[in-house]
């Protein structure tokens, strides 16, 4: 396919915890698992599992700093998924305006 598949990105975002993690990381700072676990009703292991899902979808990156992993937000996949949906939306607008011409003529 010419474009990366938007489905894994949208699927990865379709979870309340992952959305929260992305919201925090989207502020721009890279955060450790401990920092990301703060305020969430989840264990470190739980948060790590969600971070791995986001990482596989390309939405977050992890780097090792000393003994800990720090996670940061990668905007491109979400941007791409958004523009994909925008494009689908635009195609429907165009198609429906042609339908309108057809039935109203």
């Amino acid at each position: 396919m010419s474009n990366p598949d938007p489905v894994p990105v949208l699927a990865a975002l379709g979870d309340a915890t992952r959305l929260q993690l992305v919201s925090r990381l989207a502020e721009g700072k890279s955060l450790s698992i401990a920092e990301l676990t703060g305020g969430l009703d989840l264990t470190r292991q739980g948060v790590t599992k969600h971070l791995r899902v986001l990482e596989r979808a390309g939405i977050v990156n992890s780097i090792r700093v000393g003994r800990e992993s720090r996670f940061s937000y990668v905007p491109e996949p979400v941007n791409h998924a958004c523009s994909y949906l925008e494009n689908v939306s635009k195609q429907w607008d165009d198609a429906l305006s042609r339908l309108q011409k057809l039935v109203e003529s």
Partner: protein, 149 residues
């Protein structure tokens, strides 16, 4: 996060006319811009090729889910199937629904395409969206716009 696109359009034509324009495969092909080979039948696959700019020659494949005369027409398809060499038959699909409602001036047509993220639990997703609306910034925020539009 919800994952659907909804369009509402008021048409100055009776429901019977709009129903025909949407569910007759030749008329559908005329406005959708696809050259379709066979009629829409519940449970069956309609095939053809896209004719709209930028996608000429791309296979058009949809499986009809529902046809309730002058009320509901729906099909499933793979919206990003743009490579004729790939087999998309096992890929996730989105559901496209056309709902027809009579109005004083003609017909209100509501078109919904849903399932972009293949969410396993719709209720959970909606809840997630509610909790996170406003919590998003920049790029991530764009997606929520679709829910409210």
């Amino acid at each position: 996060m919800q994952d659907s696109i909804e369009k509402v359009i008021d048409l100055k034509a009776p429901v019977s006319r709009v129903w025909q324009a949407v569910t007759d495969y030749k008329e559908f092909g005329a406005w959708f811009q696809a050259d379709l080979e066979n009629p829409f039948v519940v449970g069956e696959v309609t095939r053809g090729v896209a004719t709209y700019r930028g996608a000429e020659g791309v296979k058009w494949v949809a499986t009809v889910e529902a046809m309730e005369p002058e009320r509901l027409f729906s099909f499933r398809w793979c919206p990003y199937a743009n490579d004729n060499e790939m087999d998309y038959s096992k890929e996730p699909t989105t559901l496209v629904e056309f709902r027809f409602e009579p109005t004083a001036t003609g017909t209100r047509l509501v078109v919904t395409e849903s399932g972009f993220s293949q969410l396993p639990d719709e209720a959970k997703a909606t809840e997630a969206l509610r909790r996170n609306t406003g919590g998003w910034n920049a790029q991530a925020g764009h997606i929520t716009a679709y829910v409210e539009s």
